[in-house]
């Protein structure tokens, strides 16, 4: 049984006699089917023929590939479906065999539905080279910012309240190390512009204000019995006179046992 030769005869004679048209062939042997089954050298021939032809149509493809090659490489079910359609049509019947489903076509290469619109190429509006669309620019910063008065550190007068010893020592060191460097530094133009754009630089660009003298935080020490006593006496608690204790008398009564070590535990 030489089914392929039979297919060649049937299809070639159908095309020769006008019983079938190349469109009938391509309706079954779709480009996806060709891509799946046609050898690459034949594809090269097809592409060359299409490139050189003024018009690419089904006839060009069928003539270029050849019925023999179609019958040789395309699955027999597809070729037969094409012949069956031609035969049914020649008998004036509806084709009993629809377009044969390709058995082993991967999903990605499945034929596209006919009603799907062809993908439109992306169109990008041409833009002249070297010319860009004018964009609104932010106004430049004012040129002269040096006129803005800056606060300069005021020297501490001699009669100012005394600073606690540790802070006074630190302040003295700072003043002797950089006496007038910070206030006298002038901005560069770039620095001004950056400061005006970012907003962050504005903070740093302003003259650094002298640090206010902070009250020294009480240093934590280990509590002792004396501290506890001072804290208790310092707090203002309403006490009746009857509750007051004459300490002078108490001291005399006291046996001299001043052991307050368990006071914290009692509290």
């Amino acid at each position: 049984v030489n089914i392929k030769a039979f297919f060649v005869d049937a299809l070639a004679s159908a095309l020769d006699l006008g019983v079938a048209r190349p469109d009938d062939v391509l309706r079954h042997v779709t480009p996806d089917v060709l891509a799946q089954h046609l050898p690459r050298p034949l594809w090269a021939r097809v592409i060359s023929a299409c490139l050189n032809a003024p018009r690419v149509d089904a006839k060009l493809l069928v003539d270029t590939i050849g019925i023999a090659n179609l019958a040789e490489h395309i699955p027999s079910t597809i070729i037969w479906a094409c012949i069956a359609e031609v035969g049914a049509r020649s008998l004036g019947k509806q084709p009993a065999v629809a377009v044969a489903k390709q058995p082993d076509v991967p999903v990605a290469a499945a034929p596209q539905p006919a009603n799907r619109p062809a993908p439109q190429p992306l169109r990008v509006a041409p833009q002249p080279l070297g010319r860009s669309t004018p964009q609104p620019l932010t106004p430049p910063p004012p040129e002269v910012l040096t006129a803005v008065p800056r606060a300069t550190p005021v020297p501490i007068p001699a009669g100012a309240p005394a600073i606690p010893a540790p802070l006074a020592a630190i302040a003295g060191e700072l003043e002797t190390a950089v006496p007038a460097q910070a206030p006298s530094r002038s901005r560069t133009p770039t620095g001004q512009r950056n400061a005006s754009i970012g907003g962050v630089g504005r903070i740093g660009a302003t003259a650094r204000r002298p640090q206010a003298a902070a009250t020294p935080a009480p240093t934590r020490r280990a509590r002792s019995a004396t501290d506890t006593t001072e804290t208790e006496t310092a707090s203002e608690i309403a006490v009746d006179d009857s509750q007051l204790v004459d300490w002078s008398a108490a001291e005399t009564i006291s046996t001299g046992d001043d052991d307050f070590s368990d006071l914290g535990r009692k509290r």
Binding site: A5, D9, A10, S13, G18, V19, T77, G87, S90
Partner: protein
């Protein structure tokens, strides 16, 4: 599609089917039965078939088709009969998509 074209195509398909052994003469006569042949072949062809069989001493499907060639079949036998023969052969060959 003219009748001549259709007829020529059926003749070619039947001839190719026989040449490529897609079907054999007995398959053709299974569809183109004696009744069909007797009903559609002209008298001179019926006579000729009979004469050939008498000369050979037997009437076989092969001998019938030596006289009733594919061209003759396509010219006189209804094409749907021929197509049924072709389609049945295709089914047997397993080329019909299910």
């Amino acid at each position: 599609m003219s009748q001549d074209q259709r007829q020529a195509w059926f003749a070619r398909v039947v001839e190719s089917g026989l040449q490529n052994q897609i079907f054999n003469p007995s398959d053709v006569l299974a569809h183109a039965t004696p009744d069909v042949l007797a009903s559609h072949l002209p008298p001179e062809l019926l006579s000729k078939v009979l004469q050939a069989s008498l000369a050979a001493g037997s009437m076989t499907p092969e001998r019938v088709l030596e006289t009733v060639t594919p061209d003759v079949l396509a010219r006189h036998v209804p094409h749907d009969v021929l197509w049924a023969c072709i389609a049945a052969a295709a089914h047997r060959a397993g080329v019909v998509a299910r």
